[in-house]
């Protein structure tokens, strides 16, 4: 959750980038607090990747500033800047002539960490990401599946424990099953706790699953910046409304927790199955578990009823 008491880790002001006559990123501003995850969301070509690359100076802006911990990034050498920010891309981009372990160790070696420490850190990360080092450390990228490669890509980005991590459609090239698995691992990775993250995606479900806040872009301009529920329940304009239209119900079910619909549910004894679930369970997860245990079960109707009331209350 954003911590407003400390100064922002990333502060972007009036960022603009033109390719030829076209403004790919047009006057974008936002601030990001320590530990916060911001998702840059929007249709293909909306400028989200360009915006991300301006944060680590892979693209230089035509106007506007980027400050990291209060310091203008143009005052730093780009390499120094980037070594302090993890970077993960959709195509992974593992160095094909380096082993898995050597790929993970790239940044710590650039930073001159002790070999023993690098070795320990590599083993730890690979283990965490379900790539047992005994089996995988010596392999080469072409010997890995797409999902395994991206796990190595994540490990590489996290190896030097950077406070900031940038992710450009990190799961975009993976098939849905692999994608769900690696996304769950990613979300639950202890290494990511407390990291400030900026993630680019065009996948709405992914955005809602991972974001603290979402920045929705279209044609380089910010359409809305806010918590997922705000975008869903109080869209700032027609574009935002239309963008979520297709998946609105699924997103709403996923956004609301049992705790929030509790006030609108019948008394506890009537629905024992429902009350056994933890309060932070999403309505969608609750529905899945209830129907799995008892298809057409008695709890589904009341739950949907309560959800409907909660939604009305929240949208009011």
């Amino acid at each position: 959750m954003p911590d407003t008491s400390t100064p922002p880790v990333i502060r972007v002001r009036g960022l603009t980038k033109r390719f030829g006559p076209r403004r790919v990123v047009d006057d974008v501003s936002f601030e990001l607090a320590a530990g916060e995850t911001l998702v840059l969301l929007g249709p293909s070509g909306c400028g989200k990747t360009t915006l991300l690359k301006m944060l680590n100076r892979l693209v230089e802006p035509d106007a506007g500033t980027v400050e990291i911990n209060g310091q203008d990034v143009r005052r730093q050498r780009p390499e120094q800047l980037r070594r302090g920010m993890g970077y993960v891309i959709q195509q992974v981009g593992l160095l094909p002539h380096y082993s898995v372990a050597d790929n993970v160790a790239v940044v710590p070696r650039l930073l001159g960490h002790a070999p023993a420490a690098i070795e320990a850190r590599t083993r730890e990360l690979l283990t965490r990401l379900h790539l047992p080092p005994a089996e995988y450390a010596g392999r080469f990228p072409h010997e890995l599946s797409g999902g395994q490669q991206q796990r190595v890509g994540l490990a590489r980005a996290l190896a030097a424990d950077p406070p900031i991590i940038l992710l450009d459609e990190p799961f975009g090239a993976l098939d849905p099953v692999v994608r769900a698995g690696i996304r769950r691992d990613f979300r639950e990775l202890p290494e990511l706790r407390g990291k400030t993250a900026v993630l680019v995606t065009h996948d709405v479900a992914e955005a809602f699953e991972l974001a603290d806040r979402i920045l929705l872009l279209d044609a380089g301009r910010v359409q809305q910046l806010g918590r997922p529920r705000e975008l869903l329940l109080r869209p700032a304009n027609d574009f935002v409304r239309r963008f979520f239209a297709a998946e609105r119900l699924a997103l709403q079910l996923r956004t609301f927790t049992l705790a929030e619909v509790q006030p609108y549910l019948p008394a506890a004894p009537a629905l024992p199955a429902l009350h056994q679930l933890p309060a932070h369970t999403s309505v969608q997860a609750a529905l899945e578990q209830l129907t799995a245990a008892d298809p057409g079960g008695a709890a589904v109707g009341p739950l949907m009823h309560a959800f409907h009331h909660a939604l009305q209350a929240a949208s009011a």
Partner: protein
């Protein structure tokens, strides 16, 4: 099988030469490939950073590739003289394209995602190049080096034309002498070298990605060592000679000369026939072989050393004709005989100089000379039904001039028409044209008639002893007997082999004949 045993004999007899030439060949190729890598890889890398220049630079390199290698050497001689420098530069220019193009292709072939990820992780541009792009481009780059090396081995044979040594010395000597054993003696090791270079580099290419950088570095370290092979100790002497491959090989060339005059201690290099005069003029060498009436003798201030012991066979020019021509037109004989004994060596050299170096028309040169000698008459008006005399000539300036002289004489002194068929290629073409009646006459040389056409047994050659009159009589008699063709008396000049020196240097050293050259060298 006969050829094989002759070849083995040749190699055994010339083992030291073969070894020296092979080492020179390896050295030349290695040095050129090394330089091409040192120049082509950075250039290729630069092109990947400045893609707009790529079409231009690669286009120029490609155009260089299409220049025939002998022509390229010709362009380089005025700047670099003769010897290793032009050979290595020419090889370098040929090696540049494959190396540069493969460097560009190799770098461009590196996945953009890998480069972006590497930059995103915080590698500097130099680190991206050294740790990512170059290692990943190396297989393609190595393929370019491999191509360059194989091309290099082939082109390096031409080094023999610019006195840079290598296996081309055997090959071009063999070609000049029409000696297949000698050609093979150089061509087979050259082919083996090409295969060896290719195989060694292919083995390097097959190595795993991880070991490739180390092996590549080893290879780059090895090339200068191989290149150093070329710097063999050269023999030192008071004078340096440059000879054409044919002259070095044929019995009446350098070997005969060495026997007769004891020209020891005359270190020599082998050169393209077209380049020996240039080399002498530029003082790259002091003594060269040539022809005694060549126009360049005058143009370059050279001196023909007198062959006072008559080693070189006489090559006196004289008209050869079909006897039927004289029977049908008896008035021709006195007309044609007007030139007998009229042209001295220096006069012919002068005329050749005008045609070959001042680019004057052979016809104008011929007529001007006839005027000076009072032999010129304006062509007679055409007589209807007059017969036509067909004159032939070989394809070089001196023959054109002679044909034009005869044509002018016939037109001015008789009522006959003249048709000149100049440019009949070499000796055999002219000779066969005359025998078959396609032409009526052409100028030939006594030595050529003897050595090339009649080819008498050695005993006969010895009995003639190189005496001009004896050779002429023999040739005249045998042509009538064997071919029914007639020689008229010689024109006077002797266009034979000669050793030449710069006039100024010869005068300083007091050398005017081959005996004096031998005495000077032996001192």
């Amino acid at each position: 099988m006969n050829l094989l045993s002759e070849l083995l004999d040749f190699w055994r007899l010339q083992a030291d030469k073969l070894a020296a030439q092979t080492l020179q060949h390896i050295g030349l190729t290695a040095a050129a490939v090394l330089l091409a890598v040192a120049l082509g890889v950075p250039l290729g890398l630069w092109l990947t950073r400045r893609p707009r220049w790529a079409p231009l630079v690669l286009g120029v390199a490609g155009a260089l590739q299409t220049v025939p290698s002998i022509a390229l050497l010709g362009f380089l001689i005025p700047w670099l003289g003769i010897g290793a420098a032009p050979a290595i530069v020419a090889l370098l220019l040929y090696s540049l394209l494959p190396i540069m193009r493969n460097t560009v292709a190799g770098i461009r072939g590196v996945s953009p995602a890998v480069v972006e990820a590497a930059r995103g992780l915080g590698l500097t541009d130099g680190q991206v190049l050294r740790r990512v792009e170059l290692p990943l481009a190396l297989p393609v780059l190595m393929a370019g080096i491999r191509t360059a090396a194989v091309i290099g081995v082939g082109v390096a044979t031409l080094a023999a034309y610019v006195a840079a040594g290598g296996l081309g010395e055997f090959i071009f000597g063999g070609i000049a002498l029409n000696n297949p054993v000698m050609i093979l003696a150089g061509a087979l090791p050259a082919a083996a070298l090409a295969l060896a270079f290719d195989g060694a580099l292919a083995a390097v290419q097959r190595l795993s990605l991880r070991r490739l950088p180390r092996v590549g570095a080893t290879l780059l370290g090895l090339l200068p060592l191989l290149g150093a092979l070329y710097l063999l100790p050269g023999a030192a002497g008071r004078l340096r000679a440059g000879f054409s491959p044919e002259f070095v090989g044929r019995a009446d060339g350098l070997p005969g000369l060495q026997r007769a005059y004891g020209l020891r201690r005359l270190p020599s290099v082998v050169l393209a026939p077209a380049l020996v005069y240039e080399a002498a003029r530029a003082a790259d060498v002091d003594v060269i072989d040539g022809y005694s009436t060549d126009g360049r003798i005058r143009a370059y201030g050279l001196l023909v050393l007198r062959d006072d012991r008559r080693v070189f066979p006489p090559y006196y020019a004289a008209p050869v004709l079909r006897p039927a021509l004289l029977r049908a037109h008896p008035e021709l004989l006195p007309v044609l005989s007007q030139l007998s004994g009229q042209l001295s060596d220096s006069a012919m050299t002068e005329l050749n100089y005008r045609v070959d170096y001042r680019h004057e028309e052979p016809r104008a040169v011929a007529e001007a000379w006839l005027r000076r000698r009072g032999l010129w008459r304006a062509p007679r008006p055409g007589v209807p039904g007059a017969a036509t005399v067909r004159l032939g000539s070989k394809i070089f300036g001196e023959q054109y001039i002679l044909a034009e002289m005869y044509a002018a004489l016939i037109r001015g002194h008789t009522d006959l028409q003249v048709q000149t068929k100049t440019g009949l290629g070499g000796t055999t073409i002219c000779f066969e044209a005359l025998r078959s009646g396609a032409i009526d006459m052409y100028p030939e040389y006594t030595g050529t008639g003897l050595q090339v056409l009649l080819q008498p047994p050695p005993a006969v050659l010895d009995s003639l002893g190189g005496r001009p009159a004896a050779v002429f009589e023999y040739v005249q008699r045998e042509f009538r007997r064997r071919y029914g063709l007639q020689w008229l008396p010689p024109l006077g000049f002797n266009n034979t082999y000669a050793l030449l020196m710069r006039r100024r240097q010869a005068r300083q050293l007091g050398i005017s004949s081959l005996s004096e050259l031998g005495a000077y060298l032996g001192r």
